[in-house]
Symmetry: C2
Subunit: 737 residues, 2 copies
């Protein structure tokens, strides 16, 4: 986007458009923004109301008028001293009208809540998950003893282990599998880098301030909350008004500062906490600012994404790769966004881990050598077309999506397929995962195509991975700013003859004709593309002169034949020098982990049936602890066996917990199921032990010596539990459960 | 240190003392400060000069005087019109003196350079290492295309892989082996946390500014450079002056701002770049400051260490561990220090990765259950005693160091042993690794004992790991500031009878006697320790009244018998509540990696003998790339075999490089030796291949199917190369090298 767009249109009313695009790019760059963009299927309030809601709102408004009219009639009858039966009849009619109105109100209420898709149930589910996560220290609000800081969370021990597992698998699945060049750059970034990338000027959200207390709010949040609340609670809303509010919700991300401010004024929205008036919206930069070195003269920022560290290193990385394309670089690291007022718990945070890939490719050849390995995958995709026409996501064959042009190119398709495999192998439910294509107005103007991997959770469809073909934008921006060419060369095996456009302004003539404006005219002539230039050449040949618009002067000038020579020349070239395109899959690790928690969580009855127990069904590879070791009863011999097995597990690199406290086996299982521990070894003899699988509760019997290696083979992914289940004697869950 | 010390003595001249201690604590907390503390053996310029240097300086001064005197004599003879033979004789005597002086100068120069321990050789070695590291992208100066930022470096692809390997091994060796609770907290930290820890007030270095340009310098660096330069280049320096400068170098870290400023003035030190006068030294806080949220009212900092994130979570972690001690928590993450003027390349940087352990333990029982596993280790230790008496580090049996009290306690000893194993298994040369105990004046007042793992490299002995018993300091500081008790309980199996001191001031009497000062007197009485209180009780019993100093009033008051009752009461207690001690091993990962590079680097002749080739002898576990696969000649069949092996390696999780460019085998080996790749598979048939080991250049022959698993077993550490070498047929290095 950024630089170019802002040059083309720097008017404030467009400013926010580009902000909005920018914000979305940032999202792609694995940001933690989650609002689904406006589309019939993904937005809770579509611009179209249900037929039933619309007619109900109309009926309700009619009845309300009728009730009011009848009320006036009753009062008039009373004032006029009408007879009691006359008055009673009128009152009865009024009451009838009120009953009908109330019935309509109830139906409308049901429809409105129904539109909300079982929000209450989702909320309850989320509470159950989040309570378990917080109680078992999967996460901890940071600096809790000091009452915390909004938008900052710690990973506690099991959360930290899950994160490690996700990152290790990411390295295996992407970096190792594709021979990517992984780098690790600092978070502290000097201003010039983020000036070039556009973040210093454009990485903002619109903010309003309580005019008396100075408390800050996100302008779009206040407007959104106002619209949602009106729609859900004000049943007297006219159908027209409701449609207007729904329209605002749909286009919220596209509103300019002026438009947002006007709406806030129009609706009389005030500060939520104090009801004080609000300032006009103004942009707030989301980067944490700091100062590098002691002078106070070198501003720096905490990086808002890791990608820039890769772009500025392109030249060295290209050299490291033997000056060959394509290649990918990758980076895992912290990124920072100083959110105005973080919401949505673990999904919208001020510091988070990103894993980003920048795959550099020849813009003229976006094929991928390993494309055939993903071509036959089929999964939920949600192309632009389907979103615009109000359809929903559908299963599409990836190869077909690429060959029919729904997905722009093979490399983009390859990464979409690899991301699908990554997420589903991690434990994300494939039925709650979709790849949504950006709409034209969501994409930066330079982007060739963008797809988001969205995962459905209790907050709705959450963007967790952005996969964008960003063309040559980023490398060009840094080339321009730094003066260091970030380009690739293709050496031709034989020199090629190419036709080159040559525009040669005749400066002497132009100087005579345009004096002080000569320079602007020369630049405008040289900036013509091939089509414009050849058009001018023809026009000059036929008419001898031509009107020519100079945008820097804001007017037409007359160009005569003697002022410029335009020709095409043939040249021999030995190589092609070009700026590579970049395809960027960018992963919000914290969001993926949160969705994994929700997709893995379930409850089941205790054996006695008197309790609901929590379980995380993490795949063994992701489980924070792979295995527990319990002696069945407190007994020195069993304890020694347990310690022996524990040592073998440590040697094999298997994280585990040994518990010799003598708590009942049932309680121990319940405790470890809640941490998602997939296997439990119970020592009930000195020669053999049982291994229990978490979800099936099935148990096998293995020798003491085998125990660690069996667990290792299943957690490493060399064997499945089914496989193990069929190879070892089964153990009936008598004494152990 | 911090809070308490600064309360006790807040005078400015002590301020820097505590700063200095603070800085050293920070070091322990894995900081990146490397100046060896003042000790005869570790400081380049000891306060004692060599006898030879001293006598040479004296002889030189004598000769200089003699030369001057003789010069004057010659001039006087000439002026007085003396005879030619007379003048010639005097001139000859002068020349003789000059020759002798010059000889003494040369000898002195040699001694001074000799004291420097072969600085030139070390510098050349470092250049060779650093050139290789930078050329092969082990690291890259960050934001290089924008001319970089001092003290910020990227890990390029091989560096990033080495770092990953070090961290994975750290997790295996510490977290997994000890069942530590790993957490992951944000870098952005609110002010209150770092106020409690003391960093906001005390985490400073002394800075001076060029009074005209405003350029900033570290005050101690300028004084150090001045002294070193004088000592090395000014041969006319008197022995006394040289001793003075050496003394300053020795006590540099202990100088106050005033003392530093006075020396800078005395020596006339000016700004190195402009020769402008300098400001007085003043403290500069080394934390990167920022602002959390949009209001600008919540200051925050980028954390200078990861430890605080663990301390503030103590209560939750203790609960997670079943309310049991001891347990350890660990954290790996970025830390930030806004150095005034970073030097020493990769050793002193502004952003770096720390790995920290906080092992919480009952202060009354610092035994460690796994102590027996390290008790018999023997390695270089450098106790306080040896440093003070000018001896050098020596091999000590760890168990003996603990049992004789050289090392304060078992747990501290255990971690020293584990750190030794960690570093040597990583590839650090055990002969260039020592554990140096902090001198009394280096340690914070609350610390029980501190040892630094120092690794010798071209910069000298570099502190890479700090292992400190910090007693209860950190938990108490956060308890006090937050009001949340960070304590542990020991439940007694049976209630215990304890004697408790009870001080009961009689407020009515005190109010009558002291009016408005009553509160201060009450507080002072209640604050007495047992000894003071029992002394007062006896005095009151015998004399009826006693003088009592109230520090908050700054004067004595008279306390009478009726004003306070002091007694000891017996109570039954069911538990003991106490603040745990913390033992903190803290690892500067970047420094360890840099030292590993130096210890792994060597040069050897090419086969033709015409070139010096660089090699990194990384252990397989640490090598950035484990293996390369080359077809011996370009040939489609061999290429297919190479690709097949490559796939098996990927599946086994072995990072490798496949090279089918057809470059000569010798060149390929040279390239990969320089990256420290330990194994190379050369495909010279379709059924079997050779595997070559980097350092020995030995080759074995294995079947195509075995290749990946053999490499995996050696890089995983399941087998050694010797083991493999004795199990497979050898291959003579005919065609392949």
């Amino acid at each position: 986007m950024r630089i170019l767009s802002s040059l083309i249109s720097s008017s404030a009313s467009f400013g926010h458009k580009f902000l909005s695009r920018f914000t979305l790019r940032s999202l792609n760059a694995a940001s933690l923004r989650s609002q689904a963009p406006p589309s019939a299927a993904s937005t809770r309030h579509s611009t179209q109301m249900d037929a039933s809601e619309e007619s109900l709102r109309k009926a309700l408004a009619d009845k309300q008028s009728a009730v009011e009219a009848q009320g006036i009639a009753v009062r008039q009858l009373k004032e006029a001293g009408a007879s009691k039966p006359e008055i009673d009849a009128a009152v009865e009619a009024l009451n009838d009208l009120k009953v009908v109105k109330s019935a309509i109100e109830n139906r409308l209420q049901a429809v409105v809540v129904g539109n909300d898709g079982g929000a209450a149930g989702r909320e309850a589910f989320r509470q159950a998950v989040v309570n378990t996560l917080e109680r078992r220290l999967f996460y901890i609000p940071s600096f809790k003893i000091y009452r915390g800081v909004a938008g900052l969370y710690d990973y506690g021990p099991p959360g930290c282990a899950v994160k490690s597992n996700v990152l290790a698998f990411w390295r295996q699945h992407f970096v190792l599998e594709e021979n990517m060049l992984e780098v690790d750059c600092p978070c502290v970034t000097p201003e010039v880098v983020l000036k070039a990338s556009g973040h210093v000027d454009k990485f903002t959200d619109l903010m309003v301030k309580d005019e008396k207390t100075g408390t800050c709010y996100r302008a779009d949040h206040l407007l959104k909350d106002f619209c949602n609340e009106k729609l859900q609670k004000d049943l007297s809303l006219s159908a027209e008004k409701a449609a207007e509010l729904k329209h605002i919700l749909a286009v919220l991300d596209d509103l300019s500062a002026e438009e947002l401010g006007a709406k806030i004024k129009e609706y009389g929205i005030t500060a939520p906490d104090t009801k004080n008036p609000l300032s006009d919206p103004y942009p707030f930069n989301l980067m944490f600012q700091t100062s590098i070195g002691p002078s106070g003269l070198s501003p720096g920022y905490m990086r808002p994404e890791t990608a820039q560290g890769i772009f500025v290193n392109f030249r060295d990385l290209y050299y490291y790769n033997g000056n060959k394309l394509p290649f990918a670089a990758a980076q895992i690291g912290q990124a920072f966004r100083n959110e105005i007022s973080p919401r949505q718990g673990l999904l919208r945070v001020r510091e988070f881990t990103l894993a980003e890939i920048e795959h550099f490719v020849d813009p003229e050849d976006k094929s991928h050598p390993k494309y055939s390995e993903v071509v036959d995958l089929e999964f939920l995709m949600f192309p632009r077309e389907e979103q615009m026409s109000g359809q929903s996501a559908k299963r599409i064959h990836l190869g077909e999506a690429v060959s029919t042009g729904i997905v722009n190119n093979q490399t983009l398709g390859y990464f979409i397929g690899r991301v699908y495999l990554f997420l589903t192998r991690l434990g994300i439910d494939k039925n709650r995962l979709r790849f949504r294509q950006h709409l034209a107005n969501e994409m930066a103007h330079y982007a060739a195509d963008c797809w988001d991997a969205e995962i459905e959770c209790s907050y709705g469809w959450i963007e967790c991975v952005g996969i964008a073909d960003r063309s040559a934008y980023d490398l060009r921006a840094h080339s321009d700013k730094s003066g260091v060419p970030l380009v690739a060369q293709e050496k031709f095996s034989e020199p090629r003859e190419v036709e080159k456009l040559v525009i040669a302004p005749v400066k002497k003539e132009l100087g005579l004709a345009f004096k002080g404006n000569q320079k602007m005219v020369v630049e405008a002539l040289e900036a013509m593309n091939e089509e414009e230039a050849m058009g001018m050449k023809d026009a000059l040949a036929s008419k001898g002169e031509v009107d020519f618009y100079i945008c820097t002067l804001g007017k037409n000038v007359v160009i005569k034949k003697n002022m410029v020579s335009i020709s095409k020349e043939k040249k021999k070239e030995h190589q092609r020098v070009f700026t590579p395109s970049v395809i960027e899959p960018s992963f919000g690790i914290g969001r993926i982990i949160y969705c994994l928690y929700e997709h893995s969580f379930y409850m089941r009855s205790s054996k006695a049936g008197d309790e609901q127990l929590n379980v995380f069904r993490f795949p063994p590879l992701m489980a924070p602890i792979k295995c527990t070791v319990f002696p069945l009863v407190q007994n020195q011999q069993y304890e020694e066996v347990a310690k022996h097995i524990s040592k073998s597990l440590t040697a094999a690199g298997i994280s585990h917990k040994i518990d010799i406290t003598g708590t009942s086996i049932g309680k121990r299982y319940a405790r470890t199921d809640e941490l998602g521990v997939p296997f439990a070894i119970t020592v009930d003899s000195t020669s053999s032990v049982t291994i229990r699988e978490r979800d099936s509760k099935d148990q096998i019997r293995v020798t003491v010596e085998e125990a660690a290696s069996v667990v290792k083979s299943v957690t490493d992914g060399q064997r499945t539990w089914d496989d193990v289940w069929s190879s070892f004697p089964h153990h009936s869950s008598g004494p152990t459960e």
